[in-house]
Structure formats: C-alpha cells, structure tokens
C-alpha cells in the first residue's frame, strides 16, 4: 500500500477500514542467506539496503523484543553531518544525503526536519576548533557557516548573552542539520524492508552463533536454530554480549545516556542548539516538547536508567544557557545504553570469522547514522568490500594505531567520548 495524502483522505472518508499492517509477522524460516541480529535502526536499514541496493531478499532480521525498541526509540533525534576527521566526515556526509531523500525512498514521513544546528563556542580556541570543523565540512561538500556573536544573537536572542559563565563568542551553523521523528525511521525502514521481502522476526532472541572451522553457519534462537550463510551483528547496547557468542571481545564499554522531554509548549526553539561547555543540546519537537540531553552518566551500565547528578548537570547547563526555559517542566526522562568505543567512532567491519560481520560502537551518535550505517554495512556484507564512505571504521585500528578517529581527543577511555 502506498501512503499519500490522497490515501489518507480516501480512508478517512470510508471509515479508515482499509489500513493494513505496516509489516508482516512471519515465522522464521530454517535458513536465510543473511541473518541480521538486531532489529533497531541500524539492523533494519541494513536489511533495507541489502534488498534495495543489492537485490538480496532471503534475509531475516532477528529482534529480541519489538523492532525499533533500542536506542532508535530513545534518543534526542538529531541528524547532522558536522564532523571534522577523515573517516567520519565522509561517512556522515553520505548518511545525511540519504536522509534527504528518505521520505520519498521509504514512502514514509519520518518528519526529517532540516531546521539547522548551531554548535556554540566560547573562546578563541574553541572558535579555531569550530573553524577547523567547518572547513572540513565545506571541503567535504557540506554546509557550514561561522556565526559571530551578533549574528548568533539575531538567530537565538533568548540565549544568555549577558552573564553566561562561559560567554558566547559565536556558533558554527550547519543549516542542513536537524531532527527526525525517531520511531518513524525504524518503522519506515521496517516497512520498506518487509515490502522487499525481508522477514522481520520480533521476540526472537539470539542465544548462540554457530561457527564451524572459522566460518559462520547460523544462529541459535529462542525460536529454534536458523542457518545462515552470513550473520551480521548490529545490536548496539548489547554488542559485547552478542560478540561473546562468537568468542569475541570488542573494544566497547556500555554506558548510560539520559535524555529528557518537557511538556508540550508552543514553538520557542527553532533550531538544534548544542552547548559544548555544558555538554547540553536541545531542540523542540514538532509536538512541542523540548527534547534535550547532556553527557553520559559515566559508569558502565546496562540498566537503561540513570542517576541524579547527571540529571542535575544537564538542567544546570540548560538554565545557564537559556534561562527562559526555566518554567518548562520535565515530563519524562529515560536512559539508553550506549556502545562507547575507545575513540568515539563506530566500527563497521568484517570479523576474523568468515561470514560474520560487526556493526557497533556508535557512542551517542547512532541515530543520525542510521541510513549511512545501513547502506555501507549492506555494501560490505553484499560485496565483501568497504564502501567508499566507510573505509576507516575498522576493527583493527586500535591494535595497529592506524586511522584512529578520535574527534574528542580523549584517548582510550571509553566514557570520555
């Protein structure tokens, strides 16, 4: 079924009786060409692009709970391509281009909103770093504008220009950055993959990975064994446990990231604003809630909930930067489990086991990567070659020291990225 305004009109006039499931709930088959472990954003988009770009159909996505139930269902919905290191720059640029055609491609309104992102800076040194980043973006063919203090004031007059602890020098503006409706992205990819013949199997936890003579043979699940020629691990939040089934240890630590939404309010914040000195970022959803977050809770955890010191720090940053949001009331807070890698950048690679692939380590930037990640991972799985936009996200870069992509410059301590 194609979605359109006309369709909505027609259904509305006939009692909305014609709607059909967005995806099937098939029984797992005994064998697939490719099994994808993880029905989150990255798993679903990988399946979608395997089908769309490589004509592969005999694919299953195995999801332990419900599709889209991981971090794609609990993030702050920001989409951007403002990285400054080789490896990330071309990858996120690729991803953003896919975002820009996503609605037509999926025939699903994911409400991708290019409302612009402003990264604030507060010193000459930070301006230099912002300039380095902006220049990289431009050289990659993306958009970046360096805003001075007065230009910034025109765009976002409600920031604290008078007595902010770290005064506002300006911002790096990325007009094509923005937000998207996170759940809809998962659903859109799920529907698209399903329409192309991919089996999405929910409530199907993988309990083992079958490996013989260094080659992957399939997986064990709570719904029985499934044979597969290739297996892709895309289970951010649980990457280490899945990899352990294949006898692997990953350079990943799992950490909690909390996020917050306020009650619905009339439009007041038009862009995405990030306040690096306060580890704070905020946007306003189309529904009116202020959606914002900050830094990690900092300790390794799988509890998917955080604690108060981080909550308070995030709110302090908000009050410092924009005291006009003080009366907005926090409605809900939640925590996601982040795959923190030792350089803050993802891993998209083959493993030493033939036919076994890994996609993990998204730190807290996985949402914007969903289209790009699926596209380059599908390319790798289907062709065996690295996609040109993702030649550097290698698993062995830490061992060799070649091509470490450390945007924060914090080194090997996972929680500092």
């Amino acid at each position: 079924m194609r979605f359109s305004g006309l369709r909505v009109l027609k259904e509305g006039l006939t009692g909305n009786k014609g709607w059909r499931p967005h995806w099937r709930d098939p029984e797992p088959k005994p064998e697939y060409d490719i099994v994808i472990i993880g029905g989150g954003g990255h798993g679903l988009s990988t399946a979608y692009y395997l089908a769309r770009d490589h004509g592969l159909k005999n694919i299953a996505v195995l999801e332990r709970g419900y599709i889209g139930g991981g971090n794609i269902g609990r993030n702050t919905t920001i989409v951007r391509a403002n990285y400054f290191l080789q490896g990330n720059s071309e990858f996120y640029s690729h991803s953003l281009k896919l975002w820009e055609g996503l609605e037509e491609d999926l025939n699903y309104n994911v409400m991708h909103s290019q409302r612009g992102i402003i990264n604030l800076f507060h010193s000459d040194g930070q301006r230099d770093a912002a300039a380095r980043r902006g220049n990289m973006m431009i050289s990659q063919g993306d958009d970046a504008i360096l805003l001075g203090r007065e230009e910034l004031r025109k765009m976002v007059p409600y920031l604290n220009f008078d007595d902010l602890r770290f005064p506002l020098y300006g911002g790096l503006y990325h007009p094509r950055g923005g937000t998207a409706r996170h759940d809809a992205v998962a659903w859109g990819y799920a529907r698209g993959a399903d329409q192309r013949g991919v089996d999405l199997i929910q409530n199907c936890e993988v309990t083992g990975i079958d490996i013989e003579n260094g080659k992957v043979k399939g997986v064990q699940t709570v719904r029985g064994p499934i044979r597969a020629k290739k297996v892709a691990m895309v289970a951010a939040g649980r990457s280490s446990q899945v990899a352990a089934m294949a006898g692997m240890r990953l350079p990943i630590e799992s950490h909690i990231l909390q996020a917050f939404v306020t009650e619905g309010l009339k439009p007041v914040i038009d862009n995405v604003i990030t306040f690096g000195m306060g580890h704070f970022y905020i946007s306003q959803s189309d529904k009116g809630g202020l959606v914002f977050g900050g830094d990690l809770d900092f300790y390794a955890s799988y509890a998917a909930r955080g604690n108060l010191p981080t909550v308070e720090h995030v709110m302090e940053a908000g009050m410092a930067l924009m005291p006009m949001i003080g009366k907005a009331k926090v409605l809900r807070s939640w925590g996601g489990i982040m795959d923190m890698s030792p350089d803050g950048s993802p891993i998209i690679d083959k493993t030493h086991i033939d036919g076994l692939y890994v996609n993990c380590g998204w730190n807290y930037g996985g949402f914007k990567a969903v289209p790009g990640s699926g596209s380059v991972f599908a390319h790798l799985i289907a062709t065996g070659n690295y996609h040109p936009a993702s030649t550097r996200h290698r698993l062995d870069r830490f061992r060799t020291g070649r091509g470490i992509i450390d945007e924060e410059g914090k080194g090997s301590q996972h929680n500092l990225h």
Binding site: Q86, P267, G288, R305, I325, R332, G403
Partner: protein
C-alpha cells in the same frame, strides 16, 4: 456550586482571582479547580489535537485536561494543573491552546477533520512536494502543537535545591502513610513524611469515613499534631516524591511559594530535594480511571472520586443534577455523599447486573453510558441497557472504572508491576525498588482499615531491617469494605471514545494501531501517542492496554505491562538546575592579581575555571592588536610581567618521587640535579600526548611539577592513579600546591633587573643559569624562583605564598613599567610562544603523538613509561602522519587563520586532498607578518615547500611557505643569555 456546611476550606477567608480576565472569588483552601467549579465554570481548556472543549476531570496532580497558565512575563508558568494550584488573592489564570478565545476556538475545526487525523496519519502524508515539509507543513504542525507557552523571557523566580537524609521516607500522607509515619515516629526513627498535597490526609480529606470513631480529617489532624511534636519526624507538605534512584536516593519537588500571593520576600518558588533514605514506604494511593464511551470528554464528566473530593473537601457540587456511572461499589459512595449533601442525583448506572442496591436513587443495573450530549458542557447522556437506549438529562457525570494503584515509583528502576485479576489492576512487585515497600491503595489494598494496617506493618518491617525496635501501635477502627468490580474499559459503539484525554487518543486509534501491526504495547503507545501527554498515561494507560489486549486477542498480562519513567509529575527545569543561572553554573577561580588586572581595564577570558587577562589596554589604543604588539615588545625588548599562577603545580615528595616521574614522563627525571628544572612530556597510556610542563627538583626526594592550566586536574588524577593503583609500593606523596603559590613570569632582557629590585639577595647569573631553581627571599618573604621561559627571552618565574600575590604583582608591574615594560596578557603570551614554536593544547589536542610534535626523541629508550609501548604502534610512527610545522605567508600581508586546512598549491580544496590544518596563528610584531603552527602530512620533510591554506568558512585562501616551527631565535641564545 458551593454547598453550605460542607468542606474543609476557610469560609471566613474569601480570596479573589481571575480566569481569562474574569474576576471570581473563592476561599482559602480552594484549588483553582474547586474555585472554578464553585463558580460554575466548566469549560477550562482545549485538548491538544482536536481542540475539544474540556473541563476538570480529576482533583489531583494527574489532571489531564484543566491545564492553565499562571502569571505573566518572566513568571509566566504554563501547563499548571488547576487541580493542584492553590488559590490565593490576586491569582491570575489563563486558558491555553485556543484562538481567539476558549469559547470560540478556530482550531476546533480539527475536530471536524478527525477522520483524517487518525493514529499515525502524519507518517503517511505531508511528503509531497518535498520542500513543503520545512516551509509549510512542519511550521503549521508546530504552531498547532503544544499547550501552554513559555514567555520567552528569562525565568524571574528563585529556586533552590537541598539534600536530606532519613531512616525512613514515607511517600504519601493518606491513611497508610500516616500510620507508617506514626509507627516509625514513635519508634524514634528518623522519619520524613512527604505528601504532594498542601494538606496531609489523602483520601481521608475527600471522603466521609470515620477513623477511630471520628471524622477522618479529625483523626488526620490528631496524628499530624503528634507527628509535629516529634523531633525525629519531618513533615514535608506540597512535596512530590518524583523519582526513585539507586541506593535509596529519591528526587522530590517541594512547591514552596506557588500558593503565596507575595513572592517578593526572596523565598524560593520551589525546592528540589534529593532525599537519601535507608528505607522507604510508598503510600501513594490510587488513581481512579475513567471509562471510555462516545464523547466521554465533555466538561462536566469527571471521575467519581473527584466529585466526592470536590464535595467533601471543598464543599462544591460540580453539577445540579449529577449522574453516577461505575463498575464498582466505590462509585456508590458518590451517590450517598451527594444525596446526604442535598445534591440531586439523576441516576446511578452500574454496569454490573448484580450490583448492590443503593436506596433513594434511580438505579440502572447492567447499564452502560454510551454517549454524551452538550456543547461546551455536558447536558445529557445516553444509557444503554438490554431493553434499549435511554437519554438522561444531567450536567455532571461522575464515572468510575475502578482504581489504579499508584505504582509509578516502583517502575523507576525498571521494575515491572504485575497484573492482579481480582482488582483488574497492576500492583507493585516487592523489591522493585530496593528498600521500598508499598502499603495501602498503591499496593492494591483499598479499604481504609487495610491501608492503616499495611501502613503500620510496612513501617514496622522497614524498622526491623534497620534494627530499630518497633512499638505496639494499635490500628484504629475504620471502614473495611471489600472492593468489588467487574472490569469495564470501553463501552462498545460508534463514535469516538477517549482514552488519553489530553492527546486525544481514542479507542479507535488503539484498534487502528493494532490493525496496522503496532501490536506491541510500546509500538501502540508511540504510534498513537497514547500515554505521552502531561499525565504520562496516569489516567489512561491501563484502559488503553486493555483495549489493545482485546484488539489483539491477548490477555492483559501477555500484552505487556505499562511502565513509568521519572518524574512522577512534571518538574520545572529551573528547579532541577537551580542556582546555575549566570555565573552560578561553574565556580569562578580568580588569581591574586585579578582585582589589579581588572582595575587596569584588561578584558578577562576564561581558562578552564580561571580568569586571565586578554591584554592590558593603554589610553589611545583602539584595537587589541595594538596592545598585544606593545606587550610583546615589552618582553622582547624590555621586561614583561604575567601572572602564571593558574598553571597546575603538584608537590611530589618521597623516596620514590623520581621513580614516579620517570614513569609518567617520556624523558628522565631521576637524573635531574637538585636545583634544576626540566621540561617533560607526558603521554596517555594509548601513546598520545596528555600534557607537558616543567618539573623542578627542590630536594633529593622533593619535586614540584607544573602542568598546563587545562590539564591540572587530569594530571593529578593520573599521578594518583599511578601512585595508588599501579605502584602502591612506592613511597610518594602528592599534594596540589597550585593555590598555595602566586607565581609570576618576569621575562625579557631586563627581567633580572626587575627581580633584583625585590629579591633580598641579587641574582648571581652564574648561580642562576637557564633551567635552574631554588628558594629565595622576596622582600623578606620565603619564595621560590625558577629560571624558565615560555617566551624565548631570559625569563624567570617567581612564586610567593598566595597572600602576598596581589602585593607582589603590583610591585613587579610598577618596576617593570619603570624599565619600559609592563604587564602582558594571554594574547601577547600566545604570540611569544608561537614565535618560539612552543606548543599548547591547541597542538597537543589529544590526537597528537610525541612524534607528531617533533618530540619523538624525548621518549627515552632507557626505560618504560606510561604510553611508550602504545606510542610505538605502527600507525603512530609511520610516514604520512600530520606533523608540526611552521607556516608563513608568501607575501607579507598574507592572512593565516586557525582552523583553516592545507592543500598542495595546485590541488582542489576538497577533503580527499586535505594535507593538514592550522592550529595557532598570530601576527608576529617581531617578524612583521603573520605566522602559524600547523600539522602537515610529512611536514618536517617539506620545509621550503609552498602550500595553500584554504578557509572556506571565511573565504580566505593564502599561499604559505612551510618552515621550521621555531620562527625566532632558533638556537635559544636569548633565553639562555
């Protein structure tokens, strides 16, 4: 309509307020909701999506409809629940989400278009043409969305935060909570009793039950009086315990001044508490659930318990002819209370065929309300029974679908409540929050007697855990009626039946979600927005789950459990982040020369938490560059003085102090002689540079290490980690002495002359060669002197105990000025160091190695050190890495920009041709042109090459020559001289 003789309000204290500009009056003790109802105001708000007229549904913080805006300007407070807002004289409330007025709201046209606005409609449309999303559709949607509005002005109220500790936290002061507090209080335990209401007592204030043979509210007052008299009990009214966190930590919000007309006394509006409790009792009560039927959202339709609360606590009848509709015995109380108060009850409709009889009222057993009529308020309902449908004229419907225990806090640590079939509700699982026990209605015990019993028992159990002896406390007599109901979630039929009132989610929406395969409860919630309004599904989640279960042919337990995230009810960001406005965000650190520096007009810039001067302007200078160039000139030609106290200083003592330094620095320190200073480079264990600085050997076992300002804390942690974690066997003590010493750089050809003016013994140049150090006497005070240089000139740093810092700075500056020099700031300091090719964190930004910055040779081959092994990974040493170079423009006027990227002269400036980037630039007054430090692929091999600097952001392209990063005095003769 107010009922004489009823209610616990202060009839002798009349207060006046406005709603949408119309003046009304109420009494002290009223909420805005009770006062509006007393004034027969029924239309209070508009819903989120369809802009349906809405009234007041509940009498508590779970209210989904009656949200208003209080106040204006910087005090404008949107989305305030009228049911929570206490009335005060002069209160100004306004309705929300309507235009032009509450009565005539143009966007109520959405209601007519409802067939096209079903669940998830926007995912299916607004996709064409593509450009219209940001330009047309989204702005339209955004404008329509949201309820209240922020003023856009800075928040003008004061908020505060605090910590509290106790043995037992009792959450909720209804019968269960009061008994728990009483038992624990009498046991002598350290107790906090917190309740979100302005008045403690819970349902006992809203019902007509007797406790211990007296009216419930009288018993409440007696218990409170006893508790107030106990030193070991703290009563926190107006305090909502909003979140349960690890290890007995709770977040709570106290509404300190929302009920006060005068807030000018400096009192905080709210206080956000972190309460640490060794044990806790959750006595949060239960929330009544509505029944879904066609048009069940009209003003005048309320929960039955709310009708009783308005009647009994506030003396208000919400209608002249009230109808009661329920599926349980509890609803019958509403009939009895209304009749006893003389309010006409039009009918009692009980969906159960075997419901017990209630005398004196027209009773319809086995009937269901299947629709409502009315414009902006209820006028009539339709009742369906086996014999057919019947219309009843009524202006208020009190409905009850049963009660949901308030399990919310028990979900905050991922606990999943379990389904209890007999009460058709979720109840907490014991242990869901460690140390917390649920008692009373929130635990599924609904009679007053059961609440009292459980409250006492749970407190006793908690005290036993803590080893506190529990006294015998008799449970007072109270009603012990069993709670009987037959589930009724949604009355079948055509039309729209509301589940989530605020978000306009109907039974149809949930069913449609199920049809579209959003069958997981989480999918349904996200697809329909069910439960995502400001009440977070308190009123609707269980019913929606039941509808979904029915639509998917599953039982409720298999369909899933509802979960709740903190906070229990919304909390203002200003409360959570209280105190962070302006300079309160982070501590400010001031050097001892701060006041003098500011007095000289120096603009201050942040360096970490510190403030340092940018430059010291002189009269006639119109541009910072003029000041900067002049200050550079001081140092190059005469003498400059700079406060360098912000650099981290760590005192290192012990027999193994030298071993520690050898281990944390790449180069050797055990060979350093006493009285000498050495530059050191420190790596992280992953082989990249962490920090640099000089370390002086003051004695055989005594060193003082200098770190950069930015990395002082990080280095201290690192050293402690090595000393405690990796080599606990070493004898070494680490103490930060950053704050003990005020330290000033005195640099330039006349530096010695300035110093000799303050040193009690003049410097002997032969005893004080470059990189020497030692104790000196400055104007009679024991001080330290280091001959080091970050400027490339003859330089010293003199350190005195910080109490003398301000004084010494003044003296040094005065003496420097007398010699043609003066103070210099960060801008000049930066120029001086770039001219010398000295690095800062602009260069050692966490991604560079010793090799990259040309210091590969400083990694001693003779010993292991932190980071050495990993720095030898192939990728960190191979050709092609970007390494430090100097850049100078090909023409004198060429402009360099930090952050610009570097390309080969002929190459197109695109990423794939990128050769490096510029980290630091300045105009060098010494050389007369701009200079820069940069990282360039294979840089040191390319001296003399012409490359292109491109700054696309600022539209600047400059040809540059790659040069040695030491631009000035390459052999260092000046600083040794």
């Amino acid at each position: 309509m107010r009922i004489e003789g009823k209610g616990l309000i202060a009839r002798d204290h009349r207060v006046s307020f406005t709603f949408d500009g119309v003046r009304y009056s109420g009494f002290e003790g009223d909420t805005l909701a009770s006062a509006l109802l007393a004034n027969d105001v029924r239309l209070v708000a508009r819903s989120f999506k369809y802009h349906r007229p809405r009234g007041i549904l509940t009498a508590g913080s779970e209210e989904p409809n009656a949200l208003v805006t209080i106040g204006s300007g910087g005090r404008q407070d949107p989305n305030v629940r009228a049911t929570v807002q206490e009335l005060y004289d002069g209160l100004e409330a306004r309705s929300q989400n309507r235009w032009p007025s509450l009565e005539f709201d143009l966007l109520s046209v959405n209601n007519l278009a409802a067939p096209f606005f079903g669940a998830g409609f926007y995912y299916k449309t607004f996709m064409w043409p593509r450009a219209f999303w940001e330009k047309l559709y989204e702005p339209m949607i955004r404008k329509a969305a949201g309820l209240g509005a922020l003023s856009g002005q800075d928040n003008a109220d004061c908020y505060e935060r605090a910590f509290a500790f106790c043995d037992l936290l009792v959450i909720g002061a209804g019968p269960a909570g009061l008994m728990a507090a009483l038992v624990a209080g009498r046991a002598g335990a350290d107790v906090i009793l917190a309740d979100e209401d302005a008045r403690m007592g819970g349902r006992l204030l809203a019902e007509t039950y007797e406790v211990d043979g007296k009216p419930g509210h009288v018993w409440v007052e007696e218990v409170l009086a006893e508790l107030r008299a106990m030193d070991n009990v703290r009563l926190m009214t107006r305090t909502t315990v909003a979140g349960a966190y690890d290890h007995g930590t709770f977040a709570a919000l106290e509404r300190v001044s929302h009920h006060r007309a005068d807030r000018g006394a400096g009192a905080p509006l709210e206080c956000y508490w972190r309460i640490v409790a060794r044990r806790s009792v959750l006595a949060a009560g239960a929330l009544e659930r509505p029944v879904a039927f066609r048009d069940n959202d009209r003003p005048g339709i309320m929960t039955a318990g709310a009708v009783r609360a308005y009647l009994n606590r506030w003396g208000v009848a919400p209608g002249k002819a009230v109808t009661v509709f329920g599926n349980n015995d509890d609803a019958h109380r509403t009939v009895r209370d209304l009749m006893a108060a003389g309010v006409h009850v039009a009918a009692l409709i009980d969906s159960r065929h075997d419901a017990p009889e209630v005398d004196g009222v027209q009773m319809i057993r086995g009937g269901q309300v299947c629709g409502s009529m009315g414009g902006r308020g209820l006028e009539a309902i339709t009742v369906r029974r086996t014999s057919g449908e019947e219309r009843i004229q009524t202006d208020c419907l009190a409905m009850s679908g049963g009660w949901n225990p308030s399990v919310h806090l028990t979900c905050h640590m991922n606990g999943r409540p379990e389904w209890r079939r007999d009460i058709a509700s979720f109840v907490p699982v014991p242990g869901a929050v460690p140390g917390l026990r649920a008692a009373g209605a929130c635990n599924g015990a609904f009679s007053t007697a059961a609440c009292l019993r459980e409250g006492a028992a749970m407190a006793a159990a908690a005290l036993e855990d803590l080893g506190i002896k529990v006294p015998q406390v008799a449970t007072p007599d109270a009603e012990d009626t069993p709670y009987a109901l037959e589930p009724l979630w949604a009355v079948p039929g055509k039309g729209r039946a509301w589940l989530d009132f605020q978000n306009d989610v109907t039974v149809k929406d949930v069913k449609q979600a199920a049809v579209e395969n959003f069958r997981s409860v989480e999918h349904m919630k996200r697809y329909t927005t069910q439960g995502m309004a400001t009440d977070q599904g308190k009123n609707s989640n269980v019913a929606a789950l039941a509808v979904l279960a029915d639509a998917t042919g599953r039982g409720i337990p298999e369909t899933g459990t509802t979960t709740f995230r903190p906070p229990y009810s919304p909390i203002a960001i200003a409360a959570l982040g209280a105190g962070a406005e302006g300079k309160g965000f982070q501590p400010q650190r001031f050097t001892t020369s701060h006041a003098a520096t500011v007095a000289r007009g120096a603009p201050m810039i942040e360096a970490g938490l510190w403030y340092r001067p940018s430059y010291f302007p002189k009269p006639g200078e119109t541009d910072w560059r003029q000041s900067c160039d002049r200050e550079v000139g001081y140092v190059r030609n005469a003498v400059g003085v700079a406060d360098v106290s912000t650099l981290g200083k760590i005192d290192i003592q012990g027999a193994d102090a030298a071993k520690l330094l050898d281990f944390v620095y790449t180069n050797m320190f055990s060979t350093l002689k006493v009285g000498r200073v050495r530059y050191g480079l420190m790596l992280r264990e992953d082989g990249h540079v962490m920090d640099d600085g000089t370390t002086a050997r003051l004695g055989e076992d005594h060193f003082v290490m200098t770190t950069t300002t930015a990395a002082a804390g990080e280095v201290m942690k690192h050293l402690e980690f090595v000393a405690q974690g990796l080599h606990p066997e070493w004898d070494v003590s680490l103490t930060s002495v950053t704050e003990q010493w005020a330290q000033f750089a005195v640099a330039g050809p006349k530096a010695r002359e300035v110093l000799n003016g303050v040193l009690d013994t003049p410097l002997d140049p032969t005893e004080w060669p470059f990189m020497s150090c030692g104790a000196v006497s400055v104007l009679g005070v024991v001080a330290r002197l280091f001959r080091i240089s970050f400027s490339g000139e003859q330089g010293y740093e003199v350190a005195v105990p910080a109490r003398y810092g301000a004084s010494l700075f003044d003296i040094l500056v005065k003496r420097a000025e007398a010699l043609g020099g003066g103070p210099y700031g960060m801008e000049a300091l930066n120029v001086l160091r770039i001219e010398k090719g000295f690095i800062t964190h602009s260069e050692i930004h966490g991604r560079t190695t010793a090799y990259d910055i040309g210091m590969g040779g400083m990694v001693s081959a003779k010993k292991d050190c932190i980071g050495k092994t990993m720095s030898q990974r192939p990728g960190l040493e191979e050709p092609g890495r970007e390494c430090l170079v100097g850049l100078k423009p090909v023409g004198q006027d060429g402009r360099l920009l930090a952050g610009a990227h570097i390309y080969r002269e002929e190459a197109e400036p695109k990423r794939t041709n990128d050769q490096g980037y510029i980290t630091s630039v300045c105009h060098s007054p010494t050389l007369g042109h701009m200079i820069g430090l940069a990282f360039l692929a294979d840089g040191p091999a390319r001296y003399g090459e012409i490359v292109k600097m491109v700054d696309g952001l600022r539209g600047v392209t400059t040809l540059c020559e790659v040069v040695n990063p030491i631009f000035f005095d390459a052999d260092g003769g000046r600083m040794r001289g």
